[in-house]
Point group: C2
Chain length 323, copies 2
């Protein structure tokens, strides 16, 4: 289906927030959640250039320069792949509907929503699979590494496993029906770059073996909808002990989550958000209350998100004019 | 079902050979093959003691002392768990029907066949799950570590994932229908202990991430019967580069296997056997010929095994008298 060439056409896409790492799966596992996310409006422009015309909801924190903004970088990578002689004129407006720097894949949501919107604007020349590398290129400018766990989760929805980033090889995993997610975002700031710098470059082989046993088991648990196995596998010996020290009250929050009946609890991405997986909405509310109470006791503000696993991923939410 | 107390009763069990590690899954993945394996005959004896009365097919290499023999250690561990006041009198005869020190789980096959036979002798007081820790204790004396990948594969059949060794947590994974295995055993000797000593105790985090991405993908590939994914995931960045130098002609053999159409090829356990996974019996024969030709060119003798994945695991093969 080819799009109209009408310059007034405007397409909007929403890309959901996502939880990367999922405990044991540092840099290889992620899933999408319902609720928070980014919306990007894209339209054709006369002047041949990708321009970010406005960003709402970021309190001025994000760059409008398309070469420095994750959405701009992603769309420019996409335009290069379209192999047009001149870069087409594209205007983007980004509506942040989720917190920045929260560990919920904010930059990935911008990149993903942008490439999905622009793709539709051009008549969907790329499949979702083909869009992922562009979105991942956006991640490079945002966090310094081209990890694809947030972007793939936000794009495809459900659970994703990144087998390899070069070449990019993403495997979609089923989201068990009863699975619900609790995410608590303590209103403290930690820099993604710092959270990566403090990791050790060398790790003990014995711990790595434990970790890949758990990653394999978590994949099996998701595929079998075996909630007990998911619970046993959500154990991270390598990243969590190091990164969790940056998150105030982490150990107490995790303890509260597990005591309340959560299958598992760990850092969302590089934090400071913390997520827990549970098997019902009621359990999610109860676990969320218990987690938030710990932060309340520390007089720390926080936001709580409760949802099922988002299975749809990024999608077109509105299209005006000749759509 | 209680067994007869008749002292003449004799039970025989067969436990298949197995391929541990399966490329990326060092110490956590294994599968059983058809053909080679160990048979253990067990009978009650008047004198209260576990005794290994004979070992056939080992050219005198294995100890008859029950405390030094993997089968003896496993059965004694099992007897302690039965919580009898005195150790019952048990006589074992071990028939090695597979090569020793080949990387095909010879010691595990002895342990597993022994505990399965003795379990039946006592009226099956233990489930297969409950037998595994005893068999694994046998591994400790044979190789110095209580890794359970060979023992679990030999006991349960099919593919197994060892999520944890302490506590022991084994997940059975399906064996895709078309999957066939080629194993070539070059007649050279390498000591399991040496193959473990040469591994680095610290590994780069980046390689570990690649490895756990592949382990997750291999689990997903097996569960989906996705042969392409199995092929992509059978990639080991950590162990194979180090251990393969101990195996003459390894790189050429692997290259021959992959060029002939194998999904993947790697070291079986700690070697020197090399295995390849393929999707048909004809392909298995062709791949086996190509792999063996490399060793022939080096004037090295070898044994070739071709089979489907063994899905039955250890089983009772004969039972005399009051059975």
């Amino acid at each position: 289906m080819m799009s109209s060439k009408n310059q007034q056409e405007m397409v909007s896409a929403f890309a959901p927030a996502s939880v990367a790492n999922v405990g044991c799966g540092f840099d290889v596992l992620g899933f999408a959640i319902n609720g928070p996310g980014d919306e990007v409006w894209a339209s054709r422009a006369e002047t041949p250039e990708v321009q970010i015309r406005a960003i709402y909801g970021d309190q001025g924190a994000l760059p409008l320069d398309a070469d420095k903004n994750t959405a701009g970088v992603a769309v420019r990578a996409m335009m290069r792949a379209l192999d047009k002689q001149d870069e087409p004129g594209i205007h983007l407006k980004i509506y942040k509907k989720m917190p920045l720097g929260s560990g919920l894949g904010s930059s990935a949501a911008s990149s993903v929503a942008a490439v999905v919107a622009v793709n539709r604007l051009f008549g969907d020349p790329f499949t979702k699979n083909e869009l992922l590398p562009f979105a991942t290129e956006g991640e490079l400018v945002a966090s310094g590494t081209a990890h694809a766990d947030n972007a793939a989760a936000s794009l495809f929805g459900g659970f994703v496993l990144i087998r390899s980033t070069n070449p990019l090889d993403v495997i979609s995993l089923p989201a068990p029906e009863k699975l619900h997610c609790v995410v608590i975002h303590p209103h403290v700031e930690i820099r993604t770059e710092d959270t990566r710098k403090i990791l050790r470059k060398q790790i003990p082989l014995a711990k790595a073996v434990t970790q890949w046993g758990n990653v394999g088991a978590l994949v099996a648990g998701l595929m079998k909808s075996d909630y007990d196995l998911i619970a046993r596998a959500m154990h991270d010996e390598i990243i969590e002990p190091i990164r969790s020290v940056l998150i105030p009250g982490y150990d107490s929050i995790k303890k509260a989550a597990l005591q309340s009946g959560a299958l598992g609890c760990s850092i969302s991405g590089s934090g400071p958000s913390i997520f827990a997986l549970v098997t019902s909405k009621e359990q999610a509310k109860e676990t969320g209350r218990k987690m938030q109470a710990v932060l309340n006791d520390m007089a720390l503000e926080s936001s709580l998100y409760i949802s099922k696993i988002n299975r749809r991923g990024a999608e077109i939410v509105n299209k005006t004019d000749n759509a």
